[in-house]
């Protein structure tokens, strides 16, 4: 800072100092009008430049940036919503498909179970019928066999009696004896 305006004065010696070089410069009243006029001109110029050109320009740039950021954020949000919606749709679809698959599976299983039940029933019925027939034939066979046994026994008994006594017993007597003995053993 040293020699600041000494030099300026040296190079421009033709300039006279406005305050005459005495007193305390900030308080020398004779310089006030000049300073006020200069300040008014400078400040009005500055105000006009700032309010008409500079601030609208910088403000527009800042606004544009804010808008761009907001727009980008809105886009990002929109895309996120879209992807979420797609995800949800996919999940619903998946759930529907799964439900349908389950339904088809259950239906198939039921159908198969029903048909196998029916087959089993038919088989059981036929087996039961066969069993009944078999039992019936056994009973018949047994009855026949039993009646044959009676004939054989009475024949044998009359033959034995004929051998022992020499004369044939009366058929009625033999049959009654055989019946009584069959009754006793059976």
């Amino acid at each position: 800072m040293a020699e600041s305006h000494g030099e300026a004065k040296g190079t421009a010696s033709a300039h006279t100092e406005a305050d005459g070089g005495h007193g305390f410069p900030p308080f020398s009243k004779e310089t006030f009008p000049s300073q006020i006029v200069s300040l008014v001109i400078a400040f009005v110029a500055l105000y006009v430049i700032v309010s008409r050109v500079a601030l609208p320009k910088v403000g527009a740039v800042i606004d544009a940036r804010q808008k761009a950021i907001d727009g980008d954020l809105a886009d990002a949000q929109r895309l996120k919503d879209e992807s979420e919606a797609a995800m949800k749709a996919y999940e619903t679809e998946l759930a529907t498909a799964r439900a349908r698959a389950q339904a088809i599976g259950a239906e198939t299983r039921d159908k198969l179970a029903a048909s196998s039940d029916a087959e089993r029933k038919a088989l059981e019925d036929s087996l039961a019928a066969k069993l009944a027939a078999a039992e019936k034939s056994i009973a018949t066979t047994r009855a026949t066999a039993m009646s044959n046994v009676r004939g054989i026994a009475s024949d044998a008994a009359s033959a034995i009696v004929q051998q022992l006594t020499g004369k044939a017993p009366a058929a009625k007597t033999v049959e009654a004896a055989v019946d009584a003995s069959l009754k006793g053993t059976a």
Binding site: A2, H5, E17, P25, P26, T31, S34, Q35, S38
Partner: protein, 247 residues
Amino acid sequence: MIDPIHQFHLNKIFTIGHIGNQEIAFTNSSAYMLLAVVLIAVMMLAAGRALVPGRFQSVVELSYEFVANTIRTSAGSHGMTFFPLVFSLFMFIFVSNIVGIIPYTFTVSSHIIVTFALALLVFLTVIIYGFYKNGLKFFKLFVPSGIPAVILPLVVVIEIISFFSRPISHSVRLFANMLAGHVTLKVFASFVTMLGALGFVGKVGALLPLGLTVALTGLELMVAFLQAYVFTILTCIYLNDAIHPGH
């Protein structure tokens, strides 16, 4: 010793005209005022419009946002009406203060008439806008609510005095800070040259004031910003009174 007051002298460069008998001169002060205007205009208009700002554009946008936020926080969103005025004041004072720190330059705000004119501009803006916006309700400014009736006259007197002393405190604060800072800088800087002229021992001794001058320059840089900011925030607070006169 070098005159520390010399840096505040006004040197006439040419005569603009006369008002009555008073000569209106274009002085070194006028030149530095115009320099500040040109610097601000160039800075603001040369800044780019990129979506992602570069360094230079960032500085411009930072100053825009800084002043805008200062107004919004202290005068509300309605205070943005005065954005161009407050921005002009801040940038004008800030740029002149910063330019003034460069050696061999002149500091516009080290003259009380300049700071007083700016403070008066704010003061008159507050009064005119206050009455225009609020009519007679603007007088509520002097009558704080919730004050007991007994001491109310005293409070009103104090409020009126404090209101009318605003332009003085507003202007003297800036002026005195810039003046005192520059005088201190000049005094310490002149110690360097005085001691430096005393031979080797003097040159070694001159290191101390040299270091102090460097440190003070850093301090003055801070003061240059801080005083511009203080002037701006006080402007916002005063404008807030014009917008919302009820306490």
